[in-house]
């Protein structure tokens, strides 16, 4: 036990001596969560659109005013000809063009119907689709105003209740995600080089001839980083509560326990990478290249997992971040306890155990 303590102390010295890394380690997650928490949203606001109005009459003017008044759009340009549409799209700023047909008012009065084309730049399909939906719903409201005096009978009216997030705030979706990405990558990156570094610098030999068992060396490597990551996690949780007004509906204690569990899982993944790599460069490339995009894309952080093709939904199950995001949302937003979350907890625990066992077995106690 005394030997083990000595080893852990050595690791702490290593970390605290490198002031720059320490500064980066604590400064960056804070900077990132502040930046992303405010900046990342998939809501649509102030999209620049252009208008091609062939009629220029009272009705089209009214519709244009209605659209300009909505917070989603700002009308940026009036164009004259159909051929101009192509060129405004190619410049890239304008995302949609509203094309009113000729004699709009007259058609509406005479035939009771008139046509608007909503032409969107669908290189970004999500924005295009949302713009199209929002414009249609503004037009539908306008149409209802025109039809006010006609009674609509026999209707089933859906009363939609938005549960857990009545104001549809984007932060509720993105803060848990950003928190997960930061904890995952910082933890995995930190430990991924801890063993290879000793190999590369030649100090591994000294450890190998010491009477410490491999499993103790590996645990000793993880312990100081657990301590650092927990501080990181606390800072991030405090920020998300006080700056982003994330509610904690469930138990703060459970949130703490699950965070520690996730940190241990990420750290042991880092250790595993470190035991199978020979140089720091390889270890870091694996933990950065191998983990960054899959964690961002397959964890449900930005893109809903249920919309992915089935093979990818299966793959997403091995991403620890996915389960932690479920846990975070469950505790923070739904306010559920361990009764609902035992499955995810158990999965993370199993993953951590797996990584540690494989690391210990892969850890070579002889030099090559």
């Amino acid at each position: 036990m005394k030997r083990f303590k000595g080893f852990v102390r050595k690791e702490f010295y290593h970390i605290f001596r490198d002031k720059r890394s320490l500064f980066i380690l604590f400064g960056m997650p804070i900077a990132q969560i502040l930046l992303f928490g405010f900046a990342i949203t998939n809501e649509i606001n102030n999209v620049d659109i252009a208008v091609l109005d062939h009629s220029r009459d009272a009705t089209t003017g009214e519709i244009i005013n209605k659209i300009a008044a909505s917070k989603y759009f700002s009308i940026n340009e009036f164009i004259e000809r159909e051929t101009d549409i192509e060129s405004v799209f190619q410049k890239g700023k304008i995302k949609a063009v509203l094309n009113f047909e000729k004699n709009f008012s007259r058609n509406l009065i005479r035939d009771n119907t008139a046509t608007i084309q909503i032409i969107t730049d669908a290189t970004d399909p999500n924005t295009a689709n949302t713009i199209s939906n929002y414009t249609s719903s503004i037009l539908r409201n306008y149409q209802q105003e025109l039809n006010r005096d006609i009674q609509l009978a026999y209707q089933v009216l859906p009363e939609i209740r938005m549960v857990y997030n009545p104001e549809l705030k984007g932060v509720f979706m993105f803060v848990p995600g950003v928190m997960t990405i930061i904890l995952m990558l910082v933890s995995a990156m930190m430990t991924s080089i801890s063993i290879t570094r000793e190999k590369e610098l030649g100090t591994m030999e000294i450890l190998l001839v010491s009477p410490l068992k491999p499993v103790l060396i590996i645990i000793g490597k993880v312990v100081p980083y657990i301590f650092l990551s927990v501080i990181n996690a606390i800072v991030i949780i405090v920020l998300s509560i006080f700056v982003f007004k994330m509610p904690i509906q469930g138990s703060l204690f459970l949130l703490g326990v699950e965070s520690v569990l996730f940190i241990i899982t990420s750290l042991s993944l880092g250790i595993l990478i470190s035991t199978i790599s020979t140089t720091q460069q390889t270890a870091m490339m694996v933990s950065l290249m191998g983990l960054m995009l899959p964690t961002i894309l397959l964890s449900g952080f930005i893109f809903p997992i249920s919309s992915m093709p089935v093979p990818l939904q299966v793959i997403s199950n091995i991403i620890p971040a996915k389960w932690f995001i479920v846990l975070l949302k469950g505790i923070m937003l739904k306010g559920v306890g361990i009764v609902y979350l035992w499955k995810e907890t158990l999965l993370l625990f199993g993953m951590a155990l797996f990584f540690i066992v494989v690391s210990v077995r892969k850890y070579k106690i002889r030099l090559e």
Partner: protein, 373 residues
Amino acid sequence: MKRIGYIIQKEFRQIFRNKAMLPIIFVMPLIQLLILSNAATFEVKNIKFSYIDHDHTSASRSLIEKFEVSSYFNVISDFPSASLANSAMLNGEVDVILEIPGNLERDLVKDKYVKLGIAINAINGAAAGVESVYINQIVRDFNKAIKVELVGQPQSSGPPISIATIPLFWYNETLNYKTFMVPGILVMLVTMITLFLSGMNIVREKEIGTLEQINVTPIRKSQFIIGKLFPFWVIGMALLSIGLIISKLIFDVPMVGSLALMYFYTSIYILVVLGIGLFISNYTDTQQQAMFIAWFFMVIFILMSGLFTPIESMPGWAQIITEFNPVKYFVEVMRMVMLKGSNLEDILPQLLKTLVYALAMNGLAVWSYKKTT
């Protein structure tokens, strides 16, 4: 010139000698391109739908049927009571609960309207918004049908005024996410590989101690930097080429614009990334520090590039920050040229900014590299 040649030769040898790195540089990014491009979709489908039917009449069944046939909804189960349904939502098993009140048909005839209770799991606010649009559409269809059933054909007292909207999706009529995402993810991968490799490069020599040996040679600072840049530049261009071939052959992403323009822009863009990498490398003492900093910038570059979430929706100050994000310009140019066929004149603003950026970063890289310790 000869000196640069030697240093380039040395760098290439070091890269190709490290057998563990080769698959990481060339295979991993391409596998990620193949797999992850399928993951990046904002489409909302397979919505986990459940219902509580207190009515059990043909009217309520025909409403549920409408959800069953819709391709957006997966009807998971029906619950006898609201409390069971709520606990399933807490569990994450269902995302939408529809509660149909009893006596649907009778109340509809008596009061002319009936309220349906619908609960949506709104943690993902944007998806919840879309789900409510789908639900409203289905209910509107149902209303039309029930009206015909209850009162016969619609009265011919003049149709209400209607404005027909025709949505047209240019450049991507089927709203295929892959044509949107594949170029963007390719940009990410090229950027990551070149940034990480160049970021670790000089600092690695510092850490191992071989940088001193180079410092005592007569090589000039700028020659040294150029020699370091060139191999990674080649790797970046090679990755881009393979990625473009994959996106054409496997994802069938159109290449509307000029391929030459694409390559011309990329050749300048990679210089920006390499300049940033070498600057980081000069400024740090250990590979660990270099990687932390490279990682910090890479995450910012990815999440603030407009690749996954639209830049227009960000607050003003964040939009100003994105102006300093080279990846933003690359994503824009890639999409403009590949999907819309923009020409040199259209991408000129992005091109000029990238060029200035490249000059500034590489100037800094040369300046910050000190031959003395």
